[in-house]
């Protein structure tokens, strides 16, 4: 073996010194090979698609993933129990940061993703956090702490049956005020046809109600930040939503959430609804709905010209109690990667990455069926103009939304006039501030 000279030896030593840190800093998908991560998801089209795809993650990283999926109520109960007990059993969970982010952040439930994101040894070079829209990133950032990564974007959209409108010679609603008029016209044209369905359960109603208030020029807050449901334009929005449900909604509407609404629309029992973009894939699975349905953002107020839809997104967070945070971080990167999001589009999950939304695969998929294009355009619009705020300012968001939904129920049940219901709600909301 040829011996190195003094210069060669020095060069070899220098090369070793340089290469050793470079090797340790390089990102490696298999760095946590053999680990197991526990994932807890809310029942959602994203979760169901993920359950079918997770084997690809294991093949890529060598990490086993155990997935638990619960309905939203059970999911929240289990999450609260595990986190309050500081359990390390769960590594990754879905969270709606626009709803509970402030409370969970204050409770210290979220691991901070920012340091992991900044570490080149832990984060794949093509991760590109800026590919997520600024408003989506903002919703999951508290101070300097990034608490979650977006997995979808969604918001309520206006769905209507074009064939029924055509049969009854009713024009497509282009202003919000056209919707009650169209509902009345449908009842006159065919009394056996349901005209309208929407959410009626208290806590979930503001999601669908908010755009009625915003588009008519109202808001949930006064200029000074105090609750503003009793402002004249807010009351108009609240009244329109409540009256649609009362006068044209299905019987028992106050016990309905998206599951019943989608069933009614899918089965052809109602002609219009304002329901989540997420449910698009489920709706068009019903026979004929892909052909006879129209979908767009809720029309603006006729006089106000305001169109301010709700736009939110589910996110993935790592538990602060997790002992496998690096393996969990690999899962987050994989699940939010461009490649995975492009596949999730097939399951009707709207991608939060701009590069996927604007990419060829997504556009090719959207072009296949006209209603897909309409859905995609509506999502682009809510991403541009939407807001994630649909309650008066407070950290106690779930409670605030429950109170607002309660005001709507009081009107539908005839227990209060719109203005009285709104004033009573504002008084309750003020206690949460």
């Amino acid at each position: 073996m040829r011996r190195l000279g003094p210069v060669g030896g020095a060069l070899f030593a220098a090369a070793l010194a340089c290469s050793a840190p470079a090797a340790s800093q390089g990102f490696n998908w298999r760095a946590q090979d053999g680990q197991t991560v526990n994932l807890m998801f809310n029942n959602h089209p994203w979760s169901q698609a993920m359950r079918d795809m997770v084997a690809e993650f294991t093949a890529k990283t060598g990490i086993r993933a155990r997935i638990e999926i619960f309905n939203e109520e059970q999911f929240r109960a289990r999450l609260t129990t595990l986190m309050q007990g500081r359990s390390a059993d769960m590594d990754v969970f879905m969270t709606l940061t626009s709803r509970e982010g402030a409370v969970f952040h204050r409770a210290g439930w979220y691991a901070d993703l920012a340091p992991m994101m900044a570490d080149k040894a832990l984060t794949t070079p093509d991760f590109n956090y800026e590919d997520f829209g600024a408003s989506i990133r903002q919703a999951s950032t508290f101070g300097q702490q990034v608490v979650a990564l977006p997995i979808n974007q969604e918001g309520p959209l206006f769905y209507w049956r074009k064939d029924i409108f055509e049969r009854c010679k009713i024009a497509e609603p282009n202003a919000l005020e056209d919707i009650p008029a169209a509902a009345a016209a449908i009842k006159t044209c065919d009394s056996s046809q349901g005209a309208w369905a929407a959410r009626g359960i208290r806590g979930v109603t503001p999601y669908a109600l908010a755009a009625f208030i915003y588009n008519l020029g109202g808001s949930f807050a006064m200029p000074d930040g105090k609750p503003g449901l009793s402002q004249p334009n807010s009351v108009r929005g609240l009244e329109m939503y409540s009256n649609l449900l009362k006068d044209f909604g299905p019987p028992g509407a106050l016990n309905h959430t998206f599951t019943q609404v989608i069933e009614l629309l899918g089965q052809g029992r109602v002609a219009m609804t304002h329901e989540s973009s997420n449910e698009f894939a489920n709706i068009v699975r019903f026979p004929n709905r892909a052909q006879d349905l129209g979908v767009k953002v809720l029309p603006p107020g006729r006089d106000t010209k305001i169109s301010k839809p709700v736009a939110i997104g589910w996110t993935l967070a790592i538990s602060a109690n997790s002992r496998r945070q690096q393996a969990a971080w690999l899962f987050l990167q994989w699940a939010t990667s461009r490649e995975v999001q492009a596949k999730l589009v097939q399951a009707g999950v709207a991608p939060p990455r701009a590069s996927v939304f604007e990419g060829e695969e997504f556009n090719a998929w959207a072009k296949e069926v006209p209603i897909r294009r309409a859905w995609a355009d509506a999502l682009i619009e809510i991403g541009r103009t939407g807001t994630g705020v649909y309650q008066s300012p407070t950290d106690r968001v779930p409670e605030a939304r429950d109170i607002i939904g309660g005001a709507m129920q009081a009107i539908v049940q005839g227990r209060a006039t719109p203005i009285d219901a709104a004033r009573a709600a504002d008084a309750e909301l003020a206690k949460l501030q």
């Binding site: 109520e73 109960a77 309050q84 009626g200 028992g252 106050l254 089965q267 129920q409 009081a410």
Partner: protein, 288 residues
Amino acid sequence: MARSRISNSFRWMAAPALIFAGSMIAFPFGYAIWLSLSDVQLGSEPRFIGFGNFRRMFADEEFWNGLRLTLLLYVVSLSLQLVLGTWLGLLLARFQSARGLVRTVMVSPFMLPPVVVGMMAIVILDPSFGVANWLLAKVGLPPALWLSDPNTVMLTIAGLDTWQWTPFVALIVMGGYLSLPHDVFEAAEMDGASGWTRLRFVTLPLLAPTLITAAVLRSVDVLRFFDIIYLTTQGGPGTASTTLNILAYRRGFEFFELGYASAIMVTLSAIVFGTVLLFARLRKAVAW
């Protein structure tokens, strides 16, 4: 004597099991009491506030509404189940043929998980696409709102619970009836007592301890009734089915007020415990 000494010397061996079982009961209950006396914010240590949560609870309209609904459900469900269960149990006791098959059929409703019963109720009773209204229409009756009307929701829930648990009471009654001394009934018959008189003055008094056992078992369940209500109405419409259990769940798991939710649950536990004690006294009074 020797046997007694031996058994005494081995009694300590039961201690670990007793300590384990005792602590499994005492710890969660003690923790719930501690939480009920504390202000609990997510992620932080509970802060002791004495009876603050209870003071708030007694001033809370939702609590009184929840208590009223809990007691309404309890009275309606228990009454229906005891009356129908007794009738069904006595009927079955006379059924000689295919008794095994009948018992199997009887057991099936309460073998169903509450989630299944809740989902069945949603599908059957939905006013828009449920089969119940379709059947009503077939016989010329007007449609009902069932779980969607604040005036009928609690009766509908009581009906669901009665459907599921009446067979359970019936089986207890049947077992109790078959173990009664038959010479008493023969003597009553020879004395010329009519069927109704025998039921009122012989059968029911003799069955009283059995009925109270059934009442205790059902009381504990009905007062804690949660799953089917949550699945079908989530406490609505409005707060028309927000029983104490539902209220505590919402406060604890939806609004993260764990201290206040614990105060409600401790109060409900005291009601359950008090009811069981009352029935225990009653059982002693009717023992024969």
